[in-house]
């Protein structure tokens, strides 16, 4: 079974530029998550989708971050404009959405460096 796919794996941009990350979840998984992992810290949830609806985006900096999951499958996370403190690994995860407590499976992440 194919895992969670993410691209690109690495991205380097200047501050105030924009960037987009793409995620394709495990086939059939209804729930998709975007996490931010700053070096030396655990992942922090940015946004959770159930199919194509947002369940939780309470920690998403909405003035600069946006995310969508059209058609309830793959998803895009965008940062515009980027700040130095956005340098981190952006992890996408998915879960089946069928159980009360779902196991989340993570992709390899996109390492973003903002200069």
């Amino acid at each position: 079974e194919a895992g969670v796919a993410q691209s690109p794996r690495y991205k380097i941009i200047e501050k105030r530029q924009s960037v987009a990350f793409w995620c394709n979840p495990i086939s059939g998984h209804a729930t998709l998550y975007w996490y931010q992992q700053i070096l030396g810290q655990g992942p922090k949830l940015l946004i959770q989708f159930q199919n194509n609806g947002v369940v939780d985006d309470s920690q998403l900096p909405k003035d600069r971050f946006s995310a969508e999951r059209l058609k309830g499958v793959d998803s895009t996370l965008k940062i515009q404009p980027a700040k130095l403190e956005d340098s981190a690994v952006y992890l996408c995860a998915s879960s089946s959405g069928s159980f009360h407590i779902d196991t989340q499976y993570f992709g390899p992440g996109t390492r973003l460096t903002v200069l």
């Binding site: 810290q41 655990g42 959770q48 995860a93 407590i101 989340q104 993570f106 390492r111």
Partner: protein
């Protein structure tokens, strides 16, 4: 706000030297606790889910246990390939979807 604290931050073991990693949490009414392994440059890899105090799960040299206030990840006779960062995480008590709150991890290094 739910909190998860892991200790130690880093641990260096000799091959075959058993030890335990700790994960303490403050969330009341725990619905589950997850352990993940993360290798450098990779996403977290699922290891275990524990649901209730007294529960234990094993996988190769790893055994996870759960009490009402903390979880332990016991590593028996570790090998260099067990070197990684081990993360624990908990979902919220109620609502909030399935958002996981992660600890900062324990970085394990196993040397020959």
């Amino acid at each position: 706000e739910d909190q998860v604290t892991q200790s130690p931050e880093a641990l260096r073991l000799q091959e075959g030297e058993s030890s335990s990693l700790n994960c303490s949490y403050t969330v009341s009414g725990l619905r589950g606790l997850f352990w993940y392994r993360q290798d450098p440059g990779k996403g977290p890899e699922f290891l275990f889910t524990l649901y209730s105090a007294g529960e234990e799960k094993e996988k190769e040299r790893l055994k996870a246990t759960l009490t009402k206030k903390e979880s332990f990840l016991h590593i028996t006779a570790p090998k260099p390939e067990d070197s990684a960062t081990y993360l624990c995480a908990v979902p919220p008590r109620t609502g909030g979807g399935n958002k996981l709150t992660f600890g900062t991890g324990t970085q394990l290094k196993v040397e020959l």
